[in-house]
Symmetry: C2
Subunit: 341 residues, 2 copies
């Protein structure tokens, strides 16, 4: 399978390490043979090689100098859009940075272009799915290609792969969860007596908070994820900006440590439910008794509860996910493509 990868940040590098570290790739699936024919990025340069580029060298160059080197025989002058339009590949892996302001573009444009060319798309980028899942899914059907995005919600935890195979015939009527790792980590730290600023600093040091953490803390990340869940599992057309959103700025941080001594926990919960035939979505703080499953989710953990019309409620919980889990989710989607042909 020929792969074009857009973006070479943490997730792409973690994926590359996973593939290089397992030289017997056949471990992942009999017959899964991945060949990277292109890697492009907005600021690190691009690589291309129709016979398969040298992934180890790509990784080494980025780790040593932060960008691909002109003397690399795979070096390319193509930008991402040109690569998506011109290269010969089977699957586009879209791992560029989420851009909510531009409603998922330019990633959305790359994916539209790839699907129109009949290429499969795998993405960990929330934007295109949160803003345009139905359009992309329809494009994929029309062009006999597949659209997979396991890592957009709860990293590699099986949300969509699971729903696709194990919830067939069910109608999802509600989803709710703790979906933002950074926010939950900061809440857990504050409960333990750490100051807000110190908690942010620790989150940055741990590699799970951006320089500007407001995207996570004001609920935008969770809003994008609940939009994806509402679109994919409940066929709602809702965008992150339409999600009712209350972030950390609405919280009384002193109250949080008090709630702990009172035996409750404050958690940032994302929720989508059907109200009078319409899907409503919201993100905001909620109080839970200490013996509630959501109250037991500490640190960077995530949890998702799914209600359907046929089964009893089902909950998936993930402990301390890292970028390796996101990379594994992408790999699992690639394996799914390899198996499905």
């Amino acid at each position: 399978m020929k792969v074009l990868c857009i973006g070479f940040g943490n997730v792409a590098r973690s994926l590359a390490r996973l593939l290089i570290k397992e030289p017997s790739r056949s471990r992942f699936l009999p017959g899964l043979d991945l060949q990277f024919v292109g890697v492009t990025s907005a600021s690190r340069g691009s690589l291309e090689n129709a016979q398969g580029l040298d992934l180890s060298r790509a990784l080494q160059e980025i780790e040593e100098s932060g960008r691909f080197q002109g003397k690399n025989p795979d070096f390319s002058k193509l930008n991402s859009l040109e690569a998506v339009q011109q290269l010969d590949y089977d699957v586009l892996i879209e791992l560029s940075t989420l851009n909510l302001n531009n409603k998922g573009k330019p990633a959305l444009t790359y994916m539209r272009t790839a699907l129109e060319r009949g290429k499969h798309c795998v993405t960990a980028n929330k934007g295109p799915i949160a803003f345009a899942y139905q359009e992309l899914a329809s494009l994929a059907r029309k062009n006999h290609s597949r659209l997979l995005f396991e890592s957009t919600v709860m990293d590699g935890a099986p949300v969509f792969n699971m729903a696709r195979t194990a919830l067939k015939g069910c109608r999802v009527v509600a989803v709710e969860g703790i979906l933002n790792s950074t926010g939950n980590y900061v809440l857990t730290q504050i409960e333990q007596g750490t100051s807000f600023d110190e908690a942010i600093l620790k989150a940055r040091q741990g590699g799970f908070a951006e320089a500007d953490p407001s995207h996570d803390l004001e609920g935008w990340d969770a809003a994008a994820k609940i939009s994806i869940l509402a679109r994919v599992l409940m066929d709602a057309e809702i965008t992150p900006t339409e999600v009712s959103r209350k972030g950390f700025s609405t919280l009384d941080l002193n109250e949080i440590s008090q709630t702990v001594s009172a035996g409750t926990r404050v958690k940032m919960v994302a929720r989508a439910r059907i109200d009078s035939g319409k899907v409503l979505a919201e993100v905001g703080p909620e109080h839970f008794p200490i013996n509630h499953p959501f109250a037991t989710v500490d640190g960077t953990g995530n949890i998702l509860r799914i209600e359907t019309d046929l089964m009893c409620p089902l909950t998936i919980r993930q402990e301390s996910p890292s970028v390796k889990d996101t990379a594994y989710g992408v790999l699992n989607d690639l394996i799914e493509l390899g198996a499905g042909g």
Copy 2:
């Protein structure tokens, strides 16, 4: 798809109701068309009709008189083994009663026979999978048929469908869970001040305890389930009798209510892990702090935690499952067969 169903107890009847209540079966999958060509039972008589038997009438006869009637035009003199050997069907649904003493027989014999004839097998019966998964899986491969058993562990909750699609490439290194609903219900009742005998009575009235509850309370059900998990997810050849097992008879019931006031919970946990290259499995009581995910599982709830070498630990939790969930798991397996061709 022509279906032969062995057993017409609670699960089979719940499945029949699910199919009859949804006359537009196409809801479950475009093109899934189920035709019951045979239903056999050990004590309720049998039915057969190569053109598809009348499932509503079958259900009505059992509900009204506890057995199929001789005047039913579908009435048959075939016993289960004869039906498995002689009828023309695509998939065997094995729903007879679990028999651990006979190491999964006679269900195991029915499934061997069906697989050897190249028929698919779907089962909610733990015995054949707990004693002979590897043999049956190998028979299925050899005969180009499929073996599915989602409902054997955690009713219809997606354990195996999920693992098959979403844990590809991972090696499972440990599983642990609360897998027996009756036992957990009785523990929760005792914690709330109900006596042991009263708790058993309430469990029977709720329909989730047998006349002789020792199969559940002495850990045999959980031992069968952990054997299945160890076999399927960790490729161990372990039988329920080889599982180290401590049941309710090893518990000090007075202690249970005391642990609640001390802020902990006693739970019956089934566990399989790799120790010096060998898979070890055990079932027994364990204490958990009140904020542990396992401590939050009340009543008939179930939980399963899976550790792999590639992903962070993953937990699946199911609230208040009923026989309808078991039936849904069987239906999901049938949908999977319908999709896979």
